[in-house]
């Protein structure tokens, strides 16, 4: 079972002429660079999705179409990739993506309790985004830091030796940062 949002992404009506979605210059540059690393151009499709997500947070239907148009790879082909790979998101995510390790060593050291804490604090289940739009919670396989269990990734930051207190403090800090940013 993939831990994905239960809702199937809504199909957006077909694009009108002249409004074809565009890739940014930076996205095109990064995709071209990746493309030059492989013997076959088709290999760039997966890389392009990763790049677009890096720039936009997730892969919308528009983004999929833009990549399809740019690389000449069928949309269905790209959709097949986007729905296969766990780190590609076909739904919007918050600016803070939490990947909680649910594997063996973290389980032995209490990740289930941490998950309950997170679910209560954020009011969501894995695969969902909090009502304030800030946090997305995902369950992740072993993060390769089992000697520091239990652990989670908050975007690119690894947080280890977690306790419920540490977790609450971390959420409070991130909430504060986002509140400060929106006040600016």
């Amino acid at each position: 079972m993939k831990e994905r949002p239960e809702k199937v992404p809504q199909r957006i009506p077909a694009h009108q002429e002249g409004t074809a979605p565009q890739l940014s210059a930076e996205e095109m540059r990064a995709i071209d660079e990746e493309r030059s690393h492989y013997e076959s151009d088709a290999a760039a499709g997966l890389e392009a999705l990763r790049i677009v997500q890096r720039e936009r947070g997730w892969i919308s239907d528009d983004s999929l179409r833009a990549v399809s148009a740019y690389l000449g790879i069928a949309e269905a082909e790209l959709e097949g990739l986007a729905t296969y790979y766990q780190l590609l998101f076909r739904q919007p995510v918050g600016p803070e993506v939490i990947q909680l390790c649910k594997s063996s060593s973290c389980w032995i050291l209490g990740c289930d309790r941490l998950q309950t804490t997170l679910e209560k604090a954020l009011g969501i289940h894995p695969g969902e985004t909090s009502a304030d739009g800030i946090f997305t919670l995902l369950e992740n396989p072993c993060l390769g830091a089992c000697d520091r269990a239990p652990v989670l990734l908050m975007n690119e930051e690894l947080h280890s030796h977690l306790t419920e207190e540490k977790l609450q403090a971390l959420l409070a800090e991130k909430r504060q940062r986002h509140a400060d940013q929106s006040a600016d």
Binding site: E39, L81, L87, K102
Partner: protein, 424 residues
Amino acid sequence: MLINPLTKNIGADDTALDLGAYRNNDGYRGWLRALRMSPEKLIDLVQKAGLRGRGGAGFNTGFKWSFVPGDRQAQPVRYLVCNADEMEPGTFKDRLLMERDPHLLLEGMMIAAHAIGATTAYIFIRGEYHRAAKVLENAIGEAEQAGLLTPETTGWEQPLRIYLHRSSGNYICGEETALLNALEGKRAIPRAKPPYPQVSGLWGRPTVVNNVETLCNLPHLVTQGADWYRQLGRGEDGGTKLFGVSGKVNKPGLWELPMGTPVREVIENHAGGLRDGLTLRGFLPGGGSTDFLGPQHLDLPLDYDAVGKAGSRLGTGTITVLDEATCPVGLVLNLSRFFARESCGWCTPCRDGLPWVVHILQRIENGEGTMEDLELLREHTIRMAPGNTFCALAPGAAEPIQSALKLFEQDFVDHIRGKACPFH
């Protein structure tokens, strides 16, 4: 004598060695020496040293390379792929090597590239290893700038290229043929074998896939020789290995130790034994897809064949400890959930069997199981046995289940008879 070739540069501070520091510590001497050797001699050296793949299967590395066709004129395009996917539950060894001594890995890759005639190499790294990816990218840039990959250094017609590929997820990408599909930009589904990648791999070209730790063994093996390498081990296998322990122990961690070090020494001396006065019920010797072993196996030397004879696998060499206060049924359920989620869905025993196994285990854990469920679980492990599926994911998933049913049978029975989990 050098006894810790994998970690000799890794100090207490948490930084990565840059090119200058690496070279000051005799770095890239193995590469320069390998370039003066013929590929045949290099392959022979690695084979004689007895280096076995650290990705889990323990296949002799030199022997693996020897299947790459020798006629370079006929097949000039060849690839080397470093498997840095490290997603096996309980495994945390490659991360250290990449984050702290990236040039050791690059040097190992260069040596392997020379052996098999590859002019393009990829590091396939899991997407969650952000720091390791940045460190490696930087190191690749340093090596390029220093001219280590140019025809002037190598004497080859083309420069050697090393690219970092960030994976977009899924444990199955670590399986070497699924990995090749991922690199080609396809869904990561394992390929039917034969043909093996050495003959027809990436885009149908001869390709070798090696684990990070395997490649990190090469630089010193080349400078110090096969005899030195063999005698590093304490038992049958040569060399050293990163052994780790996680779970409820006093000092979870990772240590470079001789192959053949007894389990007890790793768990009791290095990891400081179990914490809070707990006793050991069992352990997974090398990740979530290895069979549980019990306290009676503590004196087992950590060698591939010795662990195999005891009924498990050395796997990745990172041990997960199961203590008396943790429910074995719960742990097996946790592992089976992981494998069910990660199944690529190609073969029936895996795609349909694993969710079924999860369902049964959950039922037992909830106190709603029956004695027939145990028989059903056993049947599933037989259906997932090697040969019934395209790849080793399902056989690997069966290992902790089948061994738990033997070692911890009473715990399963107690759940069923007592109609509840005794650990709650």
